[in-house]
Amino acid sequence: MKFVVWGNSHLSAFRDAWLALDGDKKVETSFLPTPNVANFSDVVLHSSQAARLTFPDGRTQVVALPPSTESCLVIVGNGNYGHFSTYERPGGLPPLWVYSPRVCHERGVNPHLHPSLAPISSTLFEVIYRDTPLHCLLHRRGFTPAYFEQFLKIFIFVSPTPASSFFRRQLHSFQYLEAACLHQFKQAYGRIFEHQVHGLGLRELTIHYPLASLEAWDGTTSEKYLLDEELQVHANQDYWRQRIEASPLMALRG
């Protein structure tokens, strides 16, 4: 099996993990950093056999692409559950609290301790977020369902959940995590994401989410799996290794 792997800033650590898993054998894989694919339209719309990458420092690189009819498509992050597109919205969306008494109870959270959080109903949440999954998966970059359908199988690895420090900083809130909002947010957004993405009718589609074992109690990625960076949204190679190993991709790698 051959693999075509598209990704954004998460691709680098994923690639390191993927290659490290190769061992003695060489799995034929083409890595495509989405923002750097200069001939994006040729690749996605016109089945180009090669991707031309350009980098900010002027370097260029040509990546040969295997026939899609013999390959798996893998999407890594690429804005799906991205920190900017999903958790932190342009326009400063306030913390969204999809209230679930059960989750609060299970986590020993007293919602009355957090009076400033505006509760959001599932209907309102859906109205706000219903266009987000397909915008991130397709429209933002210019992917099409037809392009995805050319491949034998499709795997979407959604982005790692950002770190707790990210939420505390970007959402100006200490309450968001303590009130178990993130778990509820992920559940609510997950329902919309699944509905919208599966609604495309793509064959052989697998969506792979962050493993609970890689996350802290509050639903953020555990610190030991994060890259040492200011933004605190990118995971390290160990993180991606565990996600790859837990996914059906391992069996396909042979």
Binding site: R89, P111, S121, V127, I128
Partner: protein, 367 residues
């Protein structure tokens, strides 16, 4: 001619000159303000569905209208109304009666706990005290309680922060929980819930009850604010009742309701220096309009007419020194009879109006 008390009165004091002869737009005496409102004043808006027009236009004209439960930034403006945002100063939906207003403040102060206020709507749950703010309802009773808890905190903030409260009286008719006295903005079984006459009872408030409720509200408001004074602008919604459960013809029931509310508003205005009355009801029912102020359903006030009504307000409360009734885009006397079906839509803003009681129309017998 002998001098008598009517000798030197202005044209507006006489029906012949003030109503028959004077054009609606040229009359500048229908409303004379009692006090100033400044740009710095924080306005809170509440009341029946007509007050949605008021709030929107106050905002548009640069008034500092409080909005303490704002819509999430990414919710399209066209959907704000549907979820009860950007309509009033908090997300309380329409407050039709003085009792409902009093009850809300009592609840804020912890002096009243509403009973039987979580009603089922299909497999969802609705806050019966503001049933229109979540059109599909919420997922659990606990969620309704949690949303209400947050809402009450915001309402408290509105009452604490306001300098001017613009309240529109809408109805005297209401549905009450027999045992607890909790009143609801809509009848059980219409938007949600189920009607059981052993649990719910119809009430039609008298002048004395409305006055008592409103004065009680005022005393609680002053207490909440630690005695800090405020100003009150009252008006009576010109929108007639959609339906009545009083047993009377709706025309008669409507006259009772509006007359009672108008009388209470008038008395409050006479009794209190800090209360002013704005005559939106009178302007809309001006005889020269021959009901053209209304849409084809003879109930919804046409958007052009709302412009005229508010022009009277802005002519008196002229923040920018540019307002005059004559400058109003719409002219009441130019209103033509409608030929298109009436819609509950603010034509100028394209915003749908949320009138909970409109749902009662669907229970009317077929024509």
């Amino acid at each position: 001619m002998e001098v008598n008390p009517y000798t030197d009165l202005p044209a507006g004091a006489f029906w012949k000159t003030g109503v028959v002869a004077e054009g609606l737009e040229s009359s500048d005496t229908i409303y004379k303000k009692k006090f100033e409102i400044s740009l710095q004043d924080s306005l809170a808006v509440a009341g029946s569905c007509f007050s949605q027009h008021v709030g929107r236009r106050l905002n548009k004209n640069g008034y500092n209208v409080l909005d303490l439960e704002p819509a999430p930034p990414e919710l399209p403006e066209s959907l704000h109304q549907r979820f009860g945002f950007s309509t009033f100063s908090a997300r309380h939906g329409n407050i039709y009666t003085a009792r409902q207003l009093l009850q809300l403040l009592q609840e804020v102060l912890g002096e009243h706990s509403p009973c039987d206020y979580i009603w089922k709507k299909n497999d969802k749950f609705v806050d019966a005290l503001r049933p229109s703010v979540e059109p599909d309802g919420l997922d659990s009773p606990e969620e309704v309680m949690e949303h209400r808890r947050y809402h009450l905190a915001r309402v408290r903030e509105v009452f604490e922060r306001l300098d001017v409260f613009f309240f529109t009286f809408g109805l005297t008719e209401m549905w009450e929980h027999r045992e607890s006295g909790t009143v609801y903005p809509t009848a059980p079984g219409t938007m949600a819930g189920a009607f059981d006459p052993r649990i719910f009872v119809f009430r039609n408030a008298t002048h004395a009850e409305v006055l008592q409720d409103f004065n009680h509200f005022q005393s609680l408001l002053l207490r909440l604010r630690g005695g800090r004074p405020y100003k009150l602008l009252l008006t009576v919604s010109p929108v007639p009742l959609t339906a009545t459960a009083s047993g009377q013809h709706v025309l008669v029931a409507n006259a009772y309701s509006k007359a009672t509310l108008r009388s209470v508003a008038g008395q409050l205005c006479m009794d209190h220096e800090h209360i002013d009355y704005f005559p939106s009801h009178e302007i809309v029912f001006h005889p020269k309009l021959h009901s053209r102020a209304f849409a084809e359903n003879l109930r919804s006030v046409r958007d052009e007419m709302v412009e005229v009504v508010m022009a009277y307000f802005f002519a008196e409360h002229d923040l920018h020194g540019t307002q005059a009734i004559q400058n109003c885009d719409a002219h009441a006397e130019d209103l033509q009879p409608l030929s298109s079906p009436a819609e509950e839509v603010d034509q100028r803003t394209g915003v749908e109006m949320a009138c909970d009681e409109m749902i009662l129309e669907s229970f009317a017998p077929p024509l």
